[in-house]
Subunit: 165 residues, 2 copies
Amino acid sequence: MDCQIGPFESRDWDELWPMLHEVFSRGETYAYPRDMSEPEAKAAWCGVDRYCFVARCDSQICGSYIIKKNQPGQGSHVCNGSYVVGKNARGRGLGRLLCLHSLDTARDLGFKAMQFNLVVSNNSPAIHLWESCGFSTVGRLPKAFKHPRLGFIDAFVMYQWLISD
Amino acid sequence: MDCQIGPFESRDWDELWPMLHEVFSRGETYAYPRDMSEPEAKAAWCGVDRYCFVARCDSQICGSYIIKKNQPGQGSHVCNGSYVVGKNARGRGLGRLLCLHSLDTARDLGFKAMQFNLVVSNNSPAIHLWESCGFSTVGRLPKAFKHPRLGFIDAFVMYQWLISD
């Protein structure tokens, strides 16, 4: 797969939105509202105070990630990362490519750690992927995610310190 | 201590702000920026999508708490709570009063759980208080809080399911 990852540009949105919509409307991996409108999704994914990147595979958008501060002030050295891989690009290592790219981006931006706040506990492929990219599971939130088919299920907090002290 | 807890009203702000400012500017317990301006603090504490309450002791504002959704969509049944006790009211059980009131408020609003995202690990009085109000420590975030005197220290994630299933 020949993939290039670079910063999101406004003209990317029309191609990016259907990919995000497919993931958000399934509602099985993200806490975004399943019926999120296009403007709401654009604000959440590409709005102020976040850094958005897109992956193009064979010149089509096939994935995206964002990085933002996870907390303000005394918590602002920790960023939060979110990732989406397009339906047609799954199972081909793009998630890992996006994650590793995001870790470099986070370090370039001066962040010292990355945190995932709500990793759905039945999403084993993602959990193994994040672990293989250096993340540890540092917490378990009982029934913190309302899965559309399974009801309330646990979610994990995952974390990685990004720099050598 | 004769304390009444009720919903925040706009006219409370001028009395509330100095109390919040004292806590936020110390920067030892909250991730809010230490130099947070008054309008920023007002938006953060009393803005849209959050429920703000104040405690009056002998008719002076002596404490406050807010409740908001901790995540959107499939995570929106979990709320987040934040508490401030005024300098002159500390050590008199007001923190517990606010926390127990907030748990009732959260249930009334239909929330099913409450989560604290960043409890500074050296804040033992708060940790014991939250535990005594039913919270469990469900995660530890390494060096996730930049303490003004101590540098990077760990923070805890605390959590409580609020209803019987």
